[in-house]
């Protein structure tokens, strides 16, 4: 009802993976259970107000009645029971849907390393030495195991149709496990405000068949720009996926999407570890800062 009839899936109201499906189920389960205590208020307040309006002298008036033990029991116990039931579900599902928890499957997960930059995500496929901006492709029915960090301010990574979000923070690694159970395109984004280009920090998560995925990997391997320290330095300045495409892309790459190859296997670890040195990273070397962008603009 809420998403219209677009084929591209935007939200967990039309879940396309096991994680988002369970989140969606839990949403409605909580709503229904909580309505047991909420609905009586929504219905009861107007009824009481009308029944006991000043002009209605037929209704009983008990100005000094101010307590009833019989009423007190359900007032406390019903909410307590509701919260107890909800707590059991909360405990179970919070553990089951822990973003760090690997998704059970017969195939090993696809590993992806995610680096938040202003105002795009860089997806590194360490097993294939490729990386992308603007598109995260992976096979359907195979878990994707992500490690996340940023090389700028804090961001939050989310593909609503597949699962919930997790923060990405500089010098730290968080994890997220997702899976799509159909082929299709799913909107992905950063949800944590990080400056003027924030609203443009979207990407396509694309689930494809394993055969198509192999072909896609080969395309990127053959058709990408080299990601070396120099090009990463330029990539890391504040820019939208469209601007990255204009800088590095070519006609063979889809609109607003950029492919990179020759990615060093230590790139992700290097990004995390550079914030752990015993000397400060100078602003001119720290992506996202005013000094960093100014340095690149002057080149």
């Amino acid at each position: 009802m809420l998403t219209g009839c677009s084929d591209k899936s935007q939200s967990f109201l039309t879940p396309d993976g096991p994680v988002s499906a369970l989140e969606h189920y839990h949403l409605w389960l909580i709503t229904l259970i909580t309505l047991i205590v909420v609905a009586p208020v929504v219905v009861g307040v107007p009824l009481l107000a009308w029944r006991y309006r000043y002009g209605n002298t037929r209704a009983r008036y008990a100005p000094n009645w101010d307590f009833s033990t019989a009423l007190e029991w359900p007032m406390w116990l019903v909410p307590v029971a509701i919260v107890a039931v909800l707590s059991v579900y909360l405990w179970i599902y919070t553990h089951e849907l822990d973003p760090y928890r690997p998704i059970a499957a017969d195939k090993p997960p696809l590993r992806v390393q995610v680096v938040g930059l202003d105002w795009k995500w860089l997806f590194i496929y360490p097993d294939y030495h490729i990386a992308t901006v603007g598109e995260l492709a992976f096979p359907q029915d195979r878990p994707v195991s992500m490690e996340l960090t940023t090389d700028t301010v804090m961001q939050s990574f989310m593909i609503p149709a597949l699962g919930g979000q997790i923060y990405a923070m500089p010098g730290m690694v968080t994890r997220l496990n997702l899976e799509a159970d159909r082929t299709g395109e799913f909107e992905g984004m950063n949800t944590q405000y990080n400056g003027d280009g924030f609203h443009a920090q979207h990407f396509q998560a694309v689930a494809i068949t394993p055969q198509d995925f192999d072909r896609w990997v080969k395309t990127v391997q053959h058709n990408g720009a080299a990601l070396n320290p120099t090009s990463y330095g330029i990539l890391a300045r504040s820019s939208t996926p469209a601007e990255v495409h204009n800088q590095f892309g070519d006609a063979a790459m889809p609109k607003d999407i950029t492919f990179f190859n020759d990615v060093a296997s230590r790139l992700f670890a290097g990004i995390v570890m550079r914030y752990h040195g015993d000397r400060a990273v100078s602003p001119a070397e720290e992506p996202g800062t005013v000094a960093y962008n100014a340095k690149l603009a002057s080149k």
């Binding site: 809420l2 219209g4 009983r60 700028t152």
Partner: protein, 700 residues
């Protein structure tokens, strides 16, 4: 003038910082809005000054208000501040709604300007609208409800107001000079670190919130002590009116919750000014510490905002149902339980930070626990209405709308308490819809209900009903239209703080929300019209007897407006709802057997000095005008120390004979007034003395 001399005097302030000139150099819609807003502030200040001069009001303004330590006058000044800031906050909200209604096509506001709008809107509504409003109501009402002459520390009270005004002034100045932060009301680093945001904006946020936060801490201390130490003889804790209980809990929360914010703000300032690395990306800085500190303040803060409103609703629902409050002791327990639990749930603001499922689950369950006492409160209010005689006066309209809408926000709150769901809707407009659901029907409606309810007590005449209803219904409709759609688009994956979007499915919802913003604007205008009409027609709504609503608590036993000394003699309290009990027994307006001299604290310049030099201190720090910062700090320190050494040099003594004369004159007037039944509550014949009504106990 040489550059170095310029920077010595003006720090980093330059001509480019003057927003009100921008439209002349870059005449596009975005800058016209920006400059227009600056001009509104400038002209508002000029017109106010001109009117004060024209009507020769500077002297009374100074001597009766600015240097006054009377808790009622200080309360009124808080609420005036809140209403001014409400106007700005609402208008910013309206611009944001208009922008997003057109957001599919890019809208008309730049991304940076939009970010300043949501940052100032949040900062203003929380710190400079809701906080002053509830502090104002607490100031006006609590000493009257507990039968006190004034608060425990009247000079400190004035000082707190001055500090709060300083913070608000800084936010207003940022509209005219320089930009405000784009980091939202939470100002999360590292985005707010100087390497990323070197301008004045984040510094405006830090000093506005930190200086005003000190004021709030002091207010908390003042009211904890006042409520515990200044109660009239016989007023045991369990005879305190429910609003006072909520005020006590709020004050305790202020004392314990504001310091983490002050600390977080000062640590961020240390990063920005002194090169510290508390929250930076490198050298061991960690923004997770900021998130924890901020929300150790931030979560109790939401109960600071809602509990006074709960207190108002308790008074309003009992009064307008013509009944005793149902489950008084239960409500007290529930209030204190909420206050206690509020310190144990802060982590639910960042379930998505990567901690393990055990931690998330514990905080999720702790959060849901708060739903229990809150739910019980709502049922208690419903039971208060049960077998009552309900009059739909303006405060009661707010209360009814609150109960229905608030539980919907409770439902979405339970959803957000579940980490599984929070992973999906965190940082989306669903969250924005949730907290507006709590803060508009909860806090704002409560504050407006309290404003309408206690207005006659302070000014001696009632507010106009017709415009009150128009405002109330506009708020209710406007709230519903503006924020219910945000739940939908939030579930659909629309992030908060987003200037524009590409998903056309969002657009219809945003158009409805835009229509809601229109109704909210009407509500704001209606409040202004209501105030004008009410003052114009004040002779028709005179509250001579001081009890226009046939209310129950002690403050209604005093004349309206209340004299500076509140009570001619200290009342002795024998029951809960002491005034209602006295009225029932026919002893509502008794003359005391003997009077004695009343001693009141003298006026003080503390508040004015705090406001002027607090603002100057913040301004100097924001713009690196170090001489100004040091000078202001010195003036503040020296004047406070001097005041402490000198003490109150001008205490006021009101002789017993004068008190007797005034009180007898009032009793005379009360006896001349015809008591009215509640059928005439809205009528001009209601002069503030309630007739006793007995209804036959009809069968159901």
């Amino acid at each position: 003038m040489s550059h170095s001399f310029w920077s010595l005097v003006f720090g980093r302030l330059d001509f480019d910082s003057l927003d009100f000139l921008k439209a002349f150099f870059h005449p596009d819609l975005n800058d016209v809005i920006l400059s227009g807003a600056s001009w509104v502030v400038i002209l508002g200040a000029v017109v106010t000054a001109a009117l004060l001069t024209w009507f020769r009001l500077w002297v009374p303004l100074w001597s009766k208000w600015l240097i006054s330590v009377d808790h009622k006058r200080i309360g009124v000044m808080y609420i005036v501040l809140a209403l001014i800031m409400l106007a700005r906050g609402v208008l910013e909200g309206v611009v944001m709604r208009a922008q997003q209604a057109d957001g599919l096509h890019g809208g008309f506001v730049s991304a940076d300007h939009f970010a300043q709008l949501f940052s100032t809107h949040g900062t203003i509504m929380i710190f400079f609208m809701a906080m002053p409003f509830l502090t104002g109501l607490i100031n006006i009402v609590v000493p009257l409800q507990i039968g006190a002459r004034d608060v425990s520390f009247p000079m400190l009270n004035s000082l707190s107001l001055g500090l709060t005004v300083s913070g608000a002034m800084l936010v207003m100045i940022s509209l005219v000079i320089g930009d405000f932060s784009t980091g939202g009301w939470t100002a999360y680093p590292p985005y707010t670190e100087p390497d990323f945001q070197p301008g004045a904006g984040v510094d405006y946020w830090i000093w506005a919130v930190t200086i005003a936060g000190l004021g709030s801490t002091l207010t908390g201390i003042n009211f904890v002590v006042t409520i515990l130490k200044e109660r009239a003889p016989g007023m045991t804790l369990l005879r305190m009116p429910i609003f006072t209980w909520n005020a006590l809990c709020t004050s305790l929360l202020l004392v314990f919750a504001m310091p983490p914010l002050t600390v977080a703000g000062l640590m961020l300032a240390a990063d920005r000014y002194l090169g510290f690395h508390f929250f930076t990306n490198t050298l061991g800085g960690n923004m997770m510490n900021y998130a924890n500190l901020f929300w150790q303040f931030g979560h109790p803060e939401v109960y600071i905002l809602i509990l006074p409103a709960f207190g108002v609703y308790g008074e309003v629902i009992a009064t307008f149902s013509g009944k005793r409050l149902y489950g008084y002791v239960t409500l007290v327990i529930a209030t204190m339980a909420i206050g206690f639990l509020s310190f144990g749930v802060w982590l639910h603001h960042f379930f998505t930070m990567g901690q393990d499922a055990d931690v998330n689950a514990v905080f999720g369950i702790a959060t849901m626990l708060i739903g229990i006492p809150t739910g019980v409160k709502v049922y208690d209010w419903m039971a208060t209405m049960f077998r009552g005689r309900i009059r739909f006066s303006v405060p009661m309209v707010y209360a009814l709308a609150f109960m229905v809408l608030f539980v919907l926000g409770g439902l979405t709150g339970i959803l957000l308490a579940n980490p599984t769901v929070d992973f999906q809707v965190h940082n989306t407009l669903f969250l924005v819809a949730h907290f507006h659901n709590m803060l508009i029907p909860g806090t704002l409606f409560g504050m407006l209900a309290g404003y309408t309810y206690w207005f006659p007590k302070v000014f001696g005449f009632r507010l106009n009903d017709r415009w009150g209803y128009i405002a109330a219904f506009s708020w209710i409709i406007g709230y519903f239209l503006a924020f219910m759609p945000l739940y939908a688009v939030g579930l659909m994956g629309m992030t908060r703080r987003t200037v524009s979007y590409t998903n056309s499915a969002f657009e219809p919802w945003f158009l409805v929300a835009g229509a809601g913003a229109f109704f909210v604007t009407v509500a704001l205008v209606s409040l202004c019209v209501q105030l004008y009409v009410s003052i114009r027609d004040r002779e028709l709504t005179r509250d001579i007897g001081g009890d226009p609503w046939n209310a129950r608590t002690l403050e209604w036993a005093t004349p309206s407006p209340v004299p500076a000394y509140n009570f001619p003699v200290m009342p002795h309290i024998h029951a809960l709802d002491a005034f209602a009990v006295a009225k029932e027994a026919g002893f509502g307006y008794q003359e005391p057997t003997s009077y004695s001299d009343i001693h009141l604290p003298g006026n003080t310049w503390a508040g004015v000095i705090a406001a002027v030099f607090g603002t100057a201190l913040g301004f100097g720090l924001v713009w690196h005008m170090w001489w100004l910062a040091w000078l202001s700090l010195a003036v503040l320190a020296v004047s406070l120390i001097a005041r402490a050494l000198l003490g109150d040099r001008h205490p006021v003594k009101i002789p017993a004979t004068e008190v007797r004369r005034q009180y007898r004159a009032w009793l005379e007037k009360v006896r001349a007034v015809t008591p009215v039944t509640r059928a005439l509550e809205w009528d001009h014949r209601n002069c503030g003395v309630a007739a006793t009504e007995y209804f036959e106990e009809a069968a159901e």
